[in-house]
Assembly symmetry: C2
């Protein structure tokens, strides 16, 4: 029997691990979890000084599976596989990389699908609201568990970037560098509006059953599908969509039906269908709320400079010119506030056509910036 | 009894009229209507030369009720009331203005709610697909009926602008001027994508019943509500939404619920609820498809210059800097093609913060441009 081929720079075959926590976790929402599990994955090796750990924080639909593949797969399937591996920008020959599924997630960590011991049924919509800050607290406990006092870096894109930023404020002594990519210091009204449409699609789906759909053997797939379709529009730039799909007609001409006519319709429906089968609607709801609530300046009367004063890390902030979900101006707000506070901050604005999704792609300029930044980090 | 106060520049108390057509109308979709009714309203008086008529074409959710108010109302309720009236930019002392509800509409003209004589039940989703060109054909028949050989002007915003443009191509000898406002020569992939999300919201609503929901005594209000919420996001600019709503919290702080927390959520839900009670889901579907299909250059291999070669009218093209649904670049495509063909075309790019919705507002610069343009038109 021939071993399957593994690409030279692959993180290889990986397997998730589970950490169990029995201490109470008090949440910003006033809720609490008396115990919980976090699923995570590791790539590379922790050095003797335990100083080379990098935490990768995921965005709305990500997970702990950042790089490599599982034993039963033929190809690498990690969501940031192009970034993480031996010889890749986040080089696993140098760094010990950790991917984690956030609390409230649907990929193995304790979340709405988990059993609520108090009721004997799945948490469903009763799962307490979790915030970016709560996630960081939970991640810090995992770091304790793994014996990591201080991260060489925390990195994330979009909602993941908010977690990276929050790490530098909640645990300034525990994170030496932070990469905040395609992110924002808070959502705009328009960002919240898109999230609200997604939530209303799920909440008003008759199969939602007030969030306890598991017991009914159904799922609000119609709503989740619509939510994902709306999301996808905001992940791509108008130009990227135009170049990829334009007004191409699947049948070469108008056929006058509500079936698929334009290729963009086919793409959106496919993305929506796929996501609705895999993802959990309650996790989607929780996660969009965490996005909406994130606003470190709120407690400082809206003053972002004051809010970021606690940060001690060295920063890399990256934005993409065609990202209209979190436009470069939003990243620059973070850069200005950090620079004003005397932080060591690098800023790169990458001219990649793919919109918000650019942060997931292997744009050469983008990856060169990341590679150089990680290369300079001492471990 | 005191007469209600009417503002000096009001079009006053108006009443809709109905025109009945018994000739077959063949549609671009291959469908046909053996007879139909069009509801319209008039403001001002047709002059003796019958040369002062202006047709106002409506957009997605508009109607024939352009200006003034109905006898049982206390206030003017026309959707373009700020534009049309005595002394207003489209001055009814000079012009005879006509508003019309398009075929397939839900405000009185023959549409999905009307009885399909072939089946004895409402048309529902069996109502034939109608295009911008079909609407213009139907409008031309109304002009025949009213004894109007040639319009002094045809004006419309957004989808209404597409009708105004199409008039100049389908009936170049019957339209002397055309105002194409906040419009585009065709939808982009992103525009189609938003329409597709709206359609999927309606089509997958369990209350849609394949478009024959009237017989079930229900309506796909959940879907229509979501469609309208998505639409509203695209009608406003990010900045306008930010200025109007920002991140204002209805309760002053996060309360961690799926109820209304941010003011933008309240606004969107209200707009969605209101629309879902009033509008017809089948009309919404048909109208978004008419938008998607509109592409006069398609028959010319994508060559817009060739497509617009038939136009003889004098044009005013207006775009708004903050309109990201139909950005100024889309209007400029029309302007360039018209100018290349030697047409008389004026172009105004108005710096109004309200996004696509600007075309409905009384921005002083915008209205000054319109007033001057209408003033120069000889009748």
């Amino acid at each position: 029997m021939t071993e399957p081929q593994i690409e030279p720079q692959s993180a290889g075959v990986v397997a998730p691990a589970t950490a169990r926590f029995d201490d109470v976790l008090r949440l910003r929402s006033g809720g609490r979890l008396d115990g919980y599990e976090l699923v995570y994955e590791i790539y590379g090796e922790l050095n003797a000084a335990r100083s080379n750990a990098v935490l990768v924080c995921h965005a709305l639909s990500g997970s702990h599976h950042v790089a490599g593949r599982y034993a039963d797969e033929d190809e690498d399937s990690g969501w940031w596989n192009n970034l993480v591996g031996p010889g890749k920008p986040l080089d696993t020959r140098k760094f010990f990389v950790i991917g984690i599924n956030n609390l409230g997630g649907c990929n193995g960590s304790t979340g709405p699908r988990s059993l609520n011991l108090a009721t004997g049924r799945p948490w469903g919509a009763d799962f307490p609201f979790v915030t970016v800050e709560d996630w960081v607290d939970a991640q810090a406990r995992l770091a304790d568990e793994l014996g990591i006092d201080s991260f060489a870096a925390v990195i994330g894109g979009s909602l993941g970037g908010m977690q990276a930023l929050s790490w530098t404020l909640q645990y300034p002594e525990r994170v030496r560098h932070a990469a905040v990519i395609a992110s924002a210091p808070k959502l705009s009204a328009q960002n919240i509006a898109f999230n609200e449409v997604a939530r209303q699609a799920i909440l008003t789906d008759p199969d939602f059953h007030d969030g306890h759909f598991y017991e009914h053997g159904v799922a609000p797939e119609r709503g989740l599908r619509l939510a994902r379709m709306v999301g996808h529009i905001t992940y791509l730039s108008d130009d990227a969509m135009g170049e990829k799909f334009g007004r191409s007609l699947c049948h070469g001409k108008a056929v006058y039906s509500y079936g698929i006519e334009f290729e963009i319709e086919s793409y959106l429906r496919h993305q929506g269908d796929k996501f609705a089968r895999q993802f959990d609607a309650n996790t989607y709801l929780l996660t969009t709320k965490a996005l909406d609530y994130y606003d470190p300046a709120f407690a400082h009367g809206g003053d972002l400079i004051a809010a970021l004063a606690a940060a001690r890390a060295g920063f890399l902030v990256v934005a993409f010119t065609t990202d209209w979900r979190f436009a470069p101006a939003r990243s620059r707000e973070i850069v200005y506030a950090l620079a004003h506070n005397g932080c060591d901050v690098s800023y790169a604005e990458i001219d990649c056509p793919a919109g918000h999704d650019s942060f997931l792609l292997a744009d050469p300029q983008y990856h060169a910036v990341l590679a150089a930044w990680f290369d300079r980090i001492e471990v």
